[in-house]
Amino acid sequence: MNTGRRQDPAAAVADAHRREWAFVLAATARVAGDIDLAEECVQDAYVAALDAWSRQGVPRNPGAWLTTTARRRAIDARRRDRTLRGKLPLLVEPDPPVAGSAPPQPPSGEDDVIPDDRLRLVFTCCHPALAREAQVALTLRLVCGLTTTEIAQAFLVAEPTMAARVTRAKKKISAARIAYRVPGAAELPDRLDAVLTVVHLLYTTGHMAPAGTDVVRADLVERALDLARMLHSLMPDEREVRGLLALLLLTDARRATRADGDGRLLLLAEQDRSRWDRAAIAEGMAMVPGALRGGRPGRFAVQAAIAALHAEAPSYDETDWRQIVQLYDTLLTVWTSPVVALNRAVALAMAEGPAAGLVQIEELEQDGRLADYRYLPAAKADLLRRLGRREEAARDYRTALALAENAAERDFLARRIAEVCGHA
């Protein structure tokens, strides 16, 4: 958007908040040596930007302007308050020789040559010594720049609870000396998986809000996509990063068709495929081969391949269900999850008929690990309905209804119950 024309400074600040927050904070954390101080300085820099850019115009590189301003403030604050160093310092290490993923750092010394520390920030937020919910909260707060209030709202958690979660996690980073660094090659696969899991969790939370009325919580979805794009730009050779971005793009291409005009949930079979986002599908499809190639594909790559088959199918019935079943078999070898097995059963029902799928679902029911998972009784009910076993179908739809919290989902299940009971 930097075409030299005069921009609205408020819009430019908002845009820079969205695009540059992670870069600015990550670079400031290095000189601040303390996450709280870094956050404070970055917030100050954004406030200062609004004033300065109103008077002097929007700089050519807003991110560099913000980073320089925030870093100066951090250096000043440390000079003023030397005791700060004695408190709980963030463990900032000099650049170690890191796995091929990180680009070589440019020589520092110049004020405008700022190392890209965003990966350090992401890996610190998603360190395995932090609980998953803390990883998620910290990523939104530190990498995406969301306020605690916004994060609390997104996860339907009371604000003080979320504030305590964030504070506790930050304190652990300092007190336990979780290093501000990108893990070495040996640890990288596991550590990267944790990062991708957090981004995927953000997406799914936004995509299918666990409760409330909106089927899609657009902001979380956008943030997850931004994060996946950022990771892909920083680690272009990591196949699973590519797989995750492809998966999110291909899934999100269906966003506009997931509910009808009244906010009612529409299943894949009912969605208007002509309204799927073709640009997102093309972008996602182009990434799938590269994610799959070069050794055993990871779980995100395989899920992306499944999403690609859905995206290119002319209709639900004309989907290549046999290949989807095969991909689920592959997925189960890298990710033994009962949820994956349930999805495979649904695909099998499409490939070989509802009876074949039902056998698999009944086995999963016996297994018990999905006892509280609403999609199991919902999927089972659907197969029973297709087999004409209406009373059993109604019973399982009711079980699913009792477990569902999202209003759109509840409404969908209630309609199905009415339908199989003959009141539709």
């Binding site: 005791t83 408190k87 010594a129 007190a175 979780i178 290093a179």
Partner: protein
């Protein structure tokens, strides 16, 4: 370098019922562990095994009672105080710490020097 405490929490019955050979193996494993810490670039500051919780005496206020402070299935049975560069380094070391009948907890030592 920072200090971390590795707390070894194990089911005491494990050793009690397993016999002297298992105990002997555990002792050898701990000797090996001390060497491994050095190889990993860390340092054992101190370490000890504790007598079982049946020998513990607890004091709350000024009331002295027989037994451990809290009854748990896996009790503190020993510890190492180590030096490590950061949490990742400490965890890398602690993963090697023998605890066949339980696990270990890693806690940073509070630095009160500042």
């Amino acid at each position: 370098m920072a200090e971390y405490m590795i707390l070894i929490c194990e089911d005491e019955n494990g050793y009690a019922t397993a016999g002297p050979q298992v105990w002997q193996q555990a002792m050898e494993a701990h000797t090996r562990f001390a060497q491994q810490v050095e190889e990993k670039g860390g340092k054992v500051v101190s370490g000890n095994a504790l007598q079982p919780t049946s020998t513990a005496t607890s004091i709350r206020g000024d009331v002295v009672t027989d037994g451990p402070f809290a009854e748990t299935k896996e009790a503190l049975g020993g510890y190492y105080l180590i030096e490590a560069r950061d949490l990742d380094h400490a965890l890398d070391i602690a993963k090697l710490c023998p605890a066949p009948f339980g696990g270990v907890e890693v806690r940073p030592v509070m630095d009160l020097s500042g």
